[in-house]
Amino acid sequence: DAGVTQSPTHLIKTRGQQVTLRCSPKSGHDTVSWYQQALGQGPQFIFQYYEEEERQRGNFPDRFSGHQFPNYSSELNVNALWLGDSALYLCASSLAGSTEQFFGPGTRLTVL
């Protein structure tokens, strides 16, 4: 049973560019949440998708957007990248109504 998978593993972009990160949830899970983890910090909640809609959003600007597909996989898009967006981006999956979240290995984004 595959756990949560994310791609790519690493990504290097320059300021002003746009990036798309991808996540496949654990088998049977229908809810995907995205978190940003800066170096030396705990993960911060970006948003959550369920039934292809954004259900909750953390304190992140509109440059951060997402999408969920019918197969429950999800994308995180970040526009107009700046240096402060450099972080580990984590995807977590769960079943609707459950509080247990399972995290993927993350995508490490470096903005130069």
């Binding site: 809810t31 769960s94 399972f102 995290f103 993350g106």
Partner: protein, 112 residues
């Protein structure tokens, strides 16, 4: 003031020691509490979760929650070098579904 406070450490202990990791929180509305372990450059791994005050034990790990003091702990018995990692506390509210609020994480080093 952060909603969840966690001493970043590092905490260095000899192999076999009992480790105590702690978090305090300010929002009395938090209803469920989790501990995650994160190895370097990996995603967080769920260790323990609990919904109520009191103790919950799983193998060498014991999670303790004191809602009246807004204080949670994770105890690791017979610590091993393989326990060396960052330990993140996280908590949430049922009405906000899967949104987790994390502490900054405590770095633990177990010396052989």
């Amino acid at each position: 003031q952060k909603e969840v406070e966690q001493d970043p450490g590092p905490l260095s202990v000899p192999e076999g020691a009992i480790v105590s990791l702690n978090c305090t929180y300010s929002n009395s509305a938090f209803q469920y509490f989790m501990w995650y372990r994160q190895y370097s450059r990996k995603g967080p791994e769920l260790l323990m979760y609990t919904y109520s005050s009191g103790n919950k034990e799983d193998g060498r790990f014991t999670a303790q929650v004191d809602k009246s003091s807004k204080y949670i702990s994770l105890f690791i018995r017979d610590s091993q070098p393989s326990d060396s990692a960052t330990y993140l506390c996280a908590m949430g509210r049922m009405e906000y579904g899967n949104k987790l609020v994390f502490g900054a994480g405590t770095i633990l080093r177990v010396k052989s």
